[in-house]
């Protein structure tokens, strides 16, 4: 009887201590970054995925692939430029057209396709300039309230009858950045800010969003859903880790059409 019990316990112990697989398999799907912009020629960047600290690998080269773009039954063969960059000067992107990508990598056929969105329609701004009082260490007026009164935000509007996605990027164009708040350190990266992708028809830029004086361009991007979803798929936690959404088969990254319109705004010193 004792032997039976001992055997039973030993079996349980072994069963209970069984190890799971120790290391995740390296993901060899290539990373594609390509924005297709009307009027521009095509440019496509390929790269390997970064390895985990515990993974050793050797992946095939990215510079000798036969990459094709098909549009309206015409096949274009992209030319490798080194370091995973591919271009074709004969292919000029046109709004409304569909472009399909295909190549074979590591024994798998990688495919993706996108339609170039239309140029934004009725893109308008509520003002072409605003005045903001500079904040200095000896400043005594209310921040962002020139003359002590409230300032309306800059309202950007556009038409969007099909509820497609738009994103606004605001960029300071000045060479020498003059901060609105004189007490902060000038950082080049903070010359740009944006909103989240929206299916709406307007975006208000508040005066506090501006960091620097001078000319700004207000770019309205008409984007596809796959680009919009990049903003929703940035998990880095083991609790909910899974491969980000992508329109690419056997690959990751972005292959998407973009269209845009641009307005300008001057932020003046009050």
């Amino acid at each position: 009887m004792k032997k039976i019990i001992a055997f039973f316990i030993a079996t349980l112990w072994i069963y209970g201590c069984k190890k799971e697989a120790s290391l995740p398999e390296y993901n060899t799907d290539p990373v594609i970054t390509s924005y297709l912009i009307p009027g521009n020629t095509i440019s496509l960047q390929l790269s390997h995925q970064e390895s985990t600290t515990s993974t050793q690998y050797s992946a095939p080269s990215l510079d000798s692939l036969n990459i094709t773009i098909t549009s309206k039954d015409t096949i274009y063969h992209l030319v490798p430029k080194g370091n995973g960059l591919y271009t074709d000067t004969s292919l000029v992107i046109t709004a409304g057209n569909k472009y399909s990508l295909q190549f074979t990598y590591n024994g798998k056929v990688v495919t993706a396709s996108t339609v170039i969105p239309a140029k934004p329609v009725n893109y308008a701004q509520s003002a072409t300039s605003i005045a903001i009082t500079q904040i200095t260490s000896s400043s005594s007026s209310s921040i962002g309230m020139p003359g002590g009164g409230p300032v309306d935000p800059i309202k950007l509007t556009w038409s969007n009858s099909d509820e497609s996605y738009y994103v606004v990027v605001v960029q300071n164009m000045e060479t020498n950045l003059v901060p609105i708040n004189d007490t902060i350190t000038v950082v080049d990266s903070s010359r740009i800010f944006r909103n989240s992708p929206t299916t709406g028809t307007s975006y208000n830029i508040n005066t506090r969003d501006f960091t620097y004086y001078g000319y700004h361009r207000l770019i309205l991007f008409h984007i596809n859903a796959d680009y919009a979803s990049l903003y929703n798929n940035n998990s880095s936690s083991s609790q909910n880790l899974s491969t980000p959404s992508t329109g690419i088969t056997n690959g990751v990254g972005i292959f998407t059409g973009i269209n845009s319109d641009t307005l300008f705004l001057h932020v003046d010193k009050q």
Binding site: Q49, T53, F221, N232, S238
Partner: protein
């Protein structure tokens, strides 16, 4: 391993010391009957059977009318109840009374039936019985008090010397002695902790208000008192499979962080995962918390978490008892796949006012019992957290994910140079109220209300630079992140005992779960007075309403055939909206449906009560799918010997309302309830197979149970696999899968004496199959292979000592197979990680020891009126990993551990009037 060894040694030492003390106690015990502890679970047994079992199992000599008692039925769960009290309980509501003579023979008789025929058990002496019962003379009504404080004493034995006529004083100290032979007889009065007294009656005494004063013994807290008044914290049912009963009265014995907690205590039992500091919900046998039906006085509670799940929503001061069915539950319960937690609120005294409360480093808690009339009582309890040092400690530990910023929240960042800070302004609260009204002896009407919630505020604010503050300028902008969630529930119940064979319980209930989250960028700065401010961020609202009417009936057809039947009707109304800014509604779901049905079950008892089989069927019609669902259930109980029993159960279960987790690590994941619609979210189902053996003596319990459970049509929600070349359709993000769970649970419990506790081990495996994640089965997120738990409690006079140790093998996690960076249109770079297979790696093993010590205060009547307690959570500061974060650094994906709570001490002061 060394921890196990250490604990084993401590356990043996305690046991040895404990046994020695107990031997001394026995010698000092005042009554032999007091020392007989009854451990039985009677479920609708006739009283004849009950008395036979008490005779067979415990050697009690009981004289009663067999035919009469055969017509009376009785349900009760004794947990080490002293024999006299056990007998008294059988007489309640049955219009019976009892007496005990000097030979420890117990006489039970009908209060208003004088000519019953007595059928003594074999060991009783009929001659003596007849003479004792026929000595009718006068009835003496009296009251026992402490002679120094005049406070009423409950549980005092008053005996007419030389006869078997005796009584036990009630909670208000009153007693009634029937059949006192003459007015010059003498009474013997005894009570633990007091000097025994002989009192001589005279013809002049008041027969309606006879006062007896007792004098305290020199040393308080006779050890036998402790023995007699012992109430178990937790018990497994000997009769019903996979059932645990918990008495909140002794909950403070278990170490806690801030609050004595019902759900946390259940997590110390086998089969219920303990390694979940971020969830008070129960993971029972591989099930998720939403698969556990939680009922509070008859209404369903949909949210059981406070403060990120570290505390449960139930105030232990307002709870009378809790029963947990880990699986195989009968046809009375439905609507959940895994388990049932049935919570009963306190009724409250109809005689004495009581007031009490607790204060800890986390929260304050107050409760009262108010006897409004002789048959109407009120219990009210309220609790609220306060921002003490522990609160902020826990808040910061569990709020790590909310502070990270990335693409989603980019527009919410303040201008350069200013510091973003998160300040804990959150709190939780709950309120319980229960009215109990007993208009007749057959009817009990109840009204119960529960309201509890959390106001979580994770707002980012921008610090005002000192030079601006000195000029009177304040900055008031940043990201507002406010979440309010909670439950409001109420029920009106009517319980009626129609006759000796039929009882019914009807409950009308309302339950509302709400969760509102606004994580918005506050653009109001600089535009004071402007109404055009745009909000960007996350808006999430979930509102569930459940209006139910249910009626349950028990019909004791014959001694061997008991029928249960009932009907239920629930109207669900569930709304969920999720938008990422004002103009972008990503998910909008509003479903209403009715769930109606009924059940019928029959319990057959065979072979002299050794075997019982309960077979039942539950029928449900669900409006949204327009289908009828049938759920067969069957349970077997076979008492192989008096101590050894075999139990088994089979059941099918459906679930119509599901809680979905919307994962969002950047802003914090959130959970919401949706109704099954048969398409996007199918009706999920489970099948349970359970079998087990238990061996139980008065002192020990050993149990083993095995289970196998299949799960079908379970749903997960993820935004990652959406088809992204067209407009995003978020309703397509529900994915359906299946799974199974299997395991075996071992339990050894020491139930009585000063050193109590249990050791349990669970071996389990929970696998999921979701084609969207993997073609193969993969371990479920909550899969824990080995769990080992030790709970030890030691009581010594005023002191309680307790230690718990939990070991759980690591949970699975998904590690990245790679990562990449994309340059977005605004020039910023975002990192993404990819996976190759789900849940293939394991987090490090979880283990933790908690220790507590309480010092109890006793009033002059020797009643426990409070304690001051010290709890040490995670006493050796084990860094248990909650989850891992992955970042790309220098071309490599680097993982970082995010840990659970480290060593945390807490102080609690608890006081009550009585």
């Amino acid at each position: 391993m060394k921890y196990i060894f250490l604990l084993a040694v401590v356990t043996i030492l305690f046991n040895h010391a404990d046994a020695q003390i107990f031997k001394k106690q026995i010698k000092r015990a005042h009554s032999q009957l007091d020392n007989i502890k009854i451990d039985e679970h009677f479920s609708i047994e006739n009283l004849d059977t009950v008395y036979n079992i008490l005779h067979d199992h415990y050697g009690l000599n009981i004289v009663y009318d067999t035919a009469y008692c055969n017509s009376l039925f009785f349900s009760y769960w004794y947990m080490a109840t002293a024999a006299p009290l056990a007998i008294e309980i059988t007489t309640r509501n049955n219009d019976l009374s009892y007496t005990i003579d000097s030979t420890n023979t117990i006489y039970v008789k009908a209060r208003h039936v004088h000519n019953i025929k007595k059928k003594p058990l074999p060991n009783t002496r009929e001659e003596k019985n007849n003479s004792a019962l026929s000595s009718l003379n006068f009835t003496l009504y009296g009251h026992v008090v402490d002679d120094s404080t005049n406070e009423s004493l409950a549980g005092v034995y008053v005996t007419v010397k030389g006869t078997s006529i005796s009584a036990i004083s009630g909670t208000d100290g009153s007693f009634t002695l029937n059949n006192v032979p003459n007015d010059t007889a003498s009474l013997s009065v005894s009570y633990m902790g007091y000097m025994p007294a002989d009192i001589y009656l005279t013809p002049n005494i008041s027969k309606t208000n006879f006062m007896i004063g007792l004098h305290q013994a020199e040393h308080i807290l006779d050890e036998a008192t402790v023995l007699a008044n012992r109430v178990d914290l937790m018990r497994l049912s000997g009769k019903t499979i996979s059932t645990i009963k918990l008495s909140p009265e002794k909950l403070e014995q278990i170490p806690n962080v801030g609050e004595k907690d019902i759900m946390r205590t259940f997590q110390l039992m086998p089969g219920i995962s303990a390694a979940n500091e971020s969830s008070s919900g129960l993971y029972v046998r591989g099930g998720t918390p939403d698969q556990n039906l939680v009922m509070y006085d008859g209404f369903t509670v949909y949210q059981v978490d406070h403060l990120y799940g570290f505390f449960s929503a139930f105030n232990a001061n307002a709870v009378k008892e809790v029963e947990l069915y880990k699986g195989g539950f009968d046809a009375k319960y439905g609507g959940r796949l895994s388990s049932v937690t049935d919570i009963t609120g306190k009724e409250g005294s109809t005689k004495q006012f009581n007031l009490g409360g607790d204060v800890s480093l986390l929260s304050a808690n107050i409760f009262t019992e108010i006897p409004i009339t002789e048959n109407l009582s009120l219990v009210a309890a309220a609790r609220r957290s306060w921002n003490g040092p522990i609160y902020n400690w826990i808040f910061n530990s569990f709020n790590k994910s909310s502070g990270s910023s990335n693409a989603t929240g980019a527009s919410g960042q303040g201008p350069g140079g200013a510091d973003n800070t998160t300040k804990a302004k959150s709190y939780f609260y709950d309120l319980n109220t229960r009215l109990t009204f007993k208009p007749t002896k057959k009817d009990v009407l109840t009204y119960s209300m529960f309201s509890g919630g959390d106001d979580l505020n994770n707002s980012f604010t921008v610090n005002t630079p000192s030079f601006l503050a000195s000029m009177g300028i304040s900055l008031n902008f940043g990201t507002t992140d406010v979440t309010n969630y909670g439950n409001v529930g109420m029920s009106m119940g009517w319980r009626r005992t129609w006759n000796k064979k039929m009882t019914s319980n009807t409950v009308l209930s309302y339950s509302n779960f709400y969760s509102d989250r606004n994580r918005v960028t506050n653009g109001s700065f600089g535009e004071l007075g402007s109404t055009t401010t745009t909000k960007t961020g996350i808006f999430e609202h979930n509102n569930l309403k459940d209006i139910s009417l249910r009626t349950d009936h028990e019909w004791l057809l014959t001694k061997w055939n008991h029928i249960g039947f009932g009907a239920f009707c629930t109207h669900y109304d569930i709304k969920y909206t999720y938008s990422q800014n004002d103009s972008s509604l990503l998910l909008n779901s509003h479903n209403t449906s009715d769930l109606v049905g009924g059940y019928l079950q029959d319990k057959f008892i065979f072979f002299n009560d050794k075997v019982s089989i309960t077979a039942g069927m539950r029928f449900s019609y669900f409006g949204l799918t327009a289908k009828t669902y049938t759920e067969p259930r069957v349970a077997l109980d076979y008492d192989i010997t008096r101590k050894l029993s075999f139990k088994a159960a089979y059941g099918e279960y459906y679930q119509f309302a599901n809680r979905i987790t919307r994962e969002d690590i950047s802003a914090g994941s959130s959970e919401f309830w949706v109704l099954s619609d048969g398409k996007t979210v199918p009706v999920s189902s489970a099948t349970h197979y359970i079998a087990g053996l238990s061996y139980e003596t008065n002192s020990y319990l050993f149990g083993v149970e095995g289970y196998y459970k299949t799960l079908n049509n379970i749903v997960q929600y993820t935004e990652r696999y959406s088809a992204t070349t067209s407009t995003i359709n978020y309703t397509q993000n529900f994915y359906t899968g299946s799974g199974y769970s299997q395991g075996v649970e071992f339990m050894a419990q020491k139930k009585i004496r000063k050193f109590t506790g249990w050791v349990s081990y669970t071996l389990s495996k929970t696998m999921n199959h979701f084609p969207v994640y993997s073609a193969q089965d993969f371990p479920a997120d909550n899969d824990v292979r080995n769990e080992f738990k030790i709970v030890s409690m030691y009581k010594m006079n005023h002191w309680d000592f307790a230690a718990t140790w939990i070991y759980a093998s690591g949970k699975p996690y998904t590690a990245p197979g790679g990562g990449y960076t994309i340059t977005l249109l605004d020039g910023t770079k975002e990192n993404y990680v990819t996976i190759t297979s789900k849940n293939t790696l394991r987090l490090p093993d979880y283990h933790r020891m908690d220790v507590s010590v309480n010092y109890h205060f006793y009033n002059e009547a020797k009643k426990d009126v409070g304690y001051v307690g010290l709890s040490l959570f995670n006493v050796y500061a084990r860094q248990n990993v909650w989850y891992k974060e992955f970042t790309i650094v220098s071309g490599h994906v680097v993982e970082t551990n995010v840990d659970y709570l480290s060593f945390t001490p807490n102080l609690t002061l608890s006081l009550k009037l009585r």
